[in-house]
């Protein structure tokens, strides 16, 4: 893994107006102190463990109080992260993590609310909640584990499965084009949008930390590898080879030509969009002030 870490790329915003936090990697012992269990049900070669570690690294790097961190997860492979992390955690229903998180954050704005979802969770069954959380600009960080397939149920196509790809429900090739989740979130109003990969660990930590530090709705798409289903059906079942393919296809945002084709795994990585506007929970506080002034008046 050494070579991969050496090639890590820390990206600045395309506009150069937002510097991502540079997080020093933490030791395995420091990481494990944030885990209830280091035993997972994820398959050998799965990158969910890498993304989980990156999330903890980012939380440690920003110095967030672990007692104030709340992780709200969906259902599927990624959803299981909730049982492993030693924070306040909620393992919700499929697709509903962002809606539950909206209630959590609005009820207690002092909490750092992180939502972990899979690609199916966030863009199929929970797609409506994603666009509305982005529109409201609620101060939560959505971390999407995108492995382009439904893993827990055994390898069915998802809205991020690419055109032509094979899955157990697209054995003749997928006829549906894939969502670009970052473009979707951006268009819906997310004020921080970034993409990382399980290959470039340090960059992934940085973009997650950037999202956690951002005031407003942040979405980080973590490109995951699923060698057991997606890889075996479409690319390779060798995790190392899969990571190399991911490296080839991930293009730094500032070098990505908008005109380039996004066919298959050709995508920009790093911070893709950043802006500031009124945050939802802060606006709710202003509503309270207005309501109470009106009552007194």
């Amino acid at each position: 893994m050494t070579a991969l870490v050496d090639e890590q790329r820390l990206e600045e915003s395309p506009k150069g107006d937002y510097q991502l936090p540079k997080v020093k990697p933490h030791t395995t012992a420091e990481i494990k102190a944030h885990l209830r269990s280091a035993k997972t049900l994820w398959c050998p070669g799965c990158s969910n463990g890498t993304i989980t570690r990156a999330l903890i690294d980012a939380i440690l790097g920003l110095g967030l109080d672990p007692e104030k961190v709340v992780v709200v997860a969906g259902i599927g492979c990624s959803g299981r992260i909730s049982a492993y992390l030693d924070y306040s955690t909620v393992h919700t229903a499929h697709g509903r993590a962002l809606a539950v998180a909206t209630g959590v954050k609005a009820a207690d704005p002092s909490l750092h609310v992180i939502v972990t979802m899979g690609d199916g969770d966030s863009s199929a069954i929970g797609g409506n909640h994603l666009i509305h959380a982005a529109r409201r600009n609620i101060d939560v960080t959505a971390l999407v584990f995108n492995n382009s397939i439904y893993g827990m149920t055994g390898g069915q196509m998802s809205p991020t499965t690419h055109l032509g790809d094979k899955s157990t429900t697209s054995v003749y090739g997928n006829v549906e084009p894939a969502f670009d989740l970052c473009e979707l979130a951006h268009a819906a109003g997310a004020t921080y949008v970034a993409r990382g990969t399980s290959w470039a660990y340090q960059q992934l930590v940085s973009v997650i930390a950037g999202g956690l530090g951002h005031k407003g709705f942040s979405m980080v798409e973590a490109m995951a590898i699923c060698p057991v289903y997606y890889g075996r059906f479409n690319l390779t079942s060798d995790p190392a080879e899969f990571l190399r393919i991911q490296k080839e296809h991930a293009v730094p945002a500032n070098k990505f030509d908008e005109g380039e084709s996004r066919v298959r795994d050709h995508y920009p990585v790093g911070l893709l969009h950043h802006t500031e506007r009124d945050e939802f929970v802060a606006s709710l506080a202003k509503v309270r002030t207005r309501a109470q002034e009106a009552t007194r008046g």
Partner: protein, 387 residues
């Protein structure tokens, strides 16, 4: 301040009752005939430091309510049939994860879009069995604007006490009706608070709720660092455990029994003129208003008719129905659905009395005149005076 009567609509009374109960979070989606609850709370909650959010749909609404409750706030949503159907999965989540919350279903004609502006009692079985899997539920049925207020307060109390979703089954008639209400003064009504578990954070995994001691869950973002899940979990540690059949059975039975064990404390029934009744009318919600008029009419003529009105529909008022079955020769069950509760009554009566069902699904309230005919049929030799 002396208590004075105010003219309130049923839906307004639900909203005011929720605030009196300490609710500080509402998430909902507009739907006839429940919308006034959202409208009133959008204005009132911010005044008392609370939060109103109009969500993108009913699924998001109940999900946000679960989240707010887990973060320590008393929370509710309000809807009607179609929205109630959408909420069912998350009501199951709240049941499994033991999240106190209140769902107000202002019933309208269905299925589907049905009769949006007309009353119905078609959701009484959906309230009981709408979500999948074995679970228990508490459902309260107001029959007046005053009860919209008091039962909403009681719904919060029960949800906090038993850590469970509680459903208030209003209907389009009760919800939109206006009556004079003497709003209870602070301190007049019991308000249950959530409290905190009596243990240290590192001991929390080693303590477990029993049927007689249901421990409150610490809020998210506390030193307890709780894990909340819809998976089957070990009742002691809270850790997901789907491989141990004994743990699954233990949790499932516990979730059911924690309500049924307390049935006597939860169930409220109003009995009218039942002392010497030969015939009972079993009626709930708005229909009980017509039934009560019929009891008065019959008694004025010396005819022994009484009424059993469940205020708590779920858990089913078995003890009261038992007493009734031992005493009367027939039970008339008028309801704005077809046989939903009368089947339940018939099962509980178990042949000890005749059960006469009367259903109406045209969106119109069952009138006293209709119930009178059913009563008359039970007293074929009585010479009735019209009134």
């Amino acid at each position: 301040m002396a208590a004075t009567a105010v003219l309130l609509q049923g839906n307004e009374a639900v909203a005011e009752g929720a605030i009196a109960a300490g609710a500080r979070f509402f998430a909902g989606y507009p739907i006839t005939p429940s919308t006034e609850i959202a409208e009133v709370l959008s204005q009132r909650l911010p005044q008392v430091g609370g939060t109103f959010i109009q969500m993108e749909d009913e699924i998001a609404s109940i999900a946000a309510v679960c989240g707010a409750s887990l973060a320590g706030k008393k929370a509710l949503t309000a809807t009607s049939g179609p929205g109630f159907s959408l909420m069912q999965e998350m009501i199951g989540f709240a049941s499994m994860a033991q999240i106190p919350c209140v769902i107000v279903d202002v019933m309208r004609g269905g299925p589907s879009t049905g009769l949006p502006t007309e009353p119905s009692q078609g959701d009484v079985m959906q309230a009981r069995w709408g979500t999948h899997g074995e679970h228990s539920v508490i459902a309260l049925v107001p029959n007046s604007v005053m009860e919209c207020y008091t039962l909403t307060v009681e719904a919060f109390n029960l949800s906090e006490q038993y850590r469970t979703p509680v459903i208030v089954l209003s209907d389009a008639l009760i919800g939109h009706m206006r009556e004079a209400v003497v709003v209870p003064q602070p301190g007049e009504l019991r308000i249950a608070e959530r409290g905190e578990p009596d243990c240290e954070p590192d001991e929390y995994d080693t303590v477990t709720s029993t049927l007689d001691n249901i421990l409150p869950r610490p809020p998210l973002g506390s030193p307890f660092k709780v894990h909340v899940t819809g998976l089957v979990y070990n009742r002691l540690s809270g850790t997901p455990d789907t491989s141990d059949p004994a743990a699954a059975a233990d949790l499932g039975r516990y979730l059911r029994e924690k309500i049924y064990h307390h049935r006597d404390a939860i169930v409220r029934v109003e009995e009218t003129a039942m002392e010497d009744a030969e015939i009972a009318i079993f009626a709930y919600g708005s229909v009980a208003r017509s039934a009560k008029a019929v009891v008065k009419w019959a008694r004025a003529q010396g005819v022994p008719v009484g009424m059993v009105r469940p205020i708590t529909l779920w858990p089913f008022p078995t003890a009261a129905v038992d007493r009734m079955a031992e005493q009367v020769r027939a039970v008339i069950v008028p309801e704005m659905n077809i046989k939903q509760m009368s089947w339940e009554v018939q099962a509980a009566v178990a042949g000890r009395a005749k059960v006469v069902d009367h259903g109406r699904i045209d969106g119109k309230l069952i009138t006293p005149a209709e119930i009178k005919e059913l009563v008359k049929a039970q007293f074929p030799y009585h010479r009735w005076e019209e009134a």
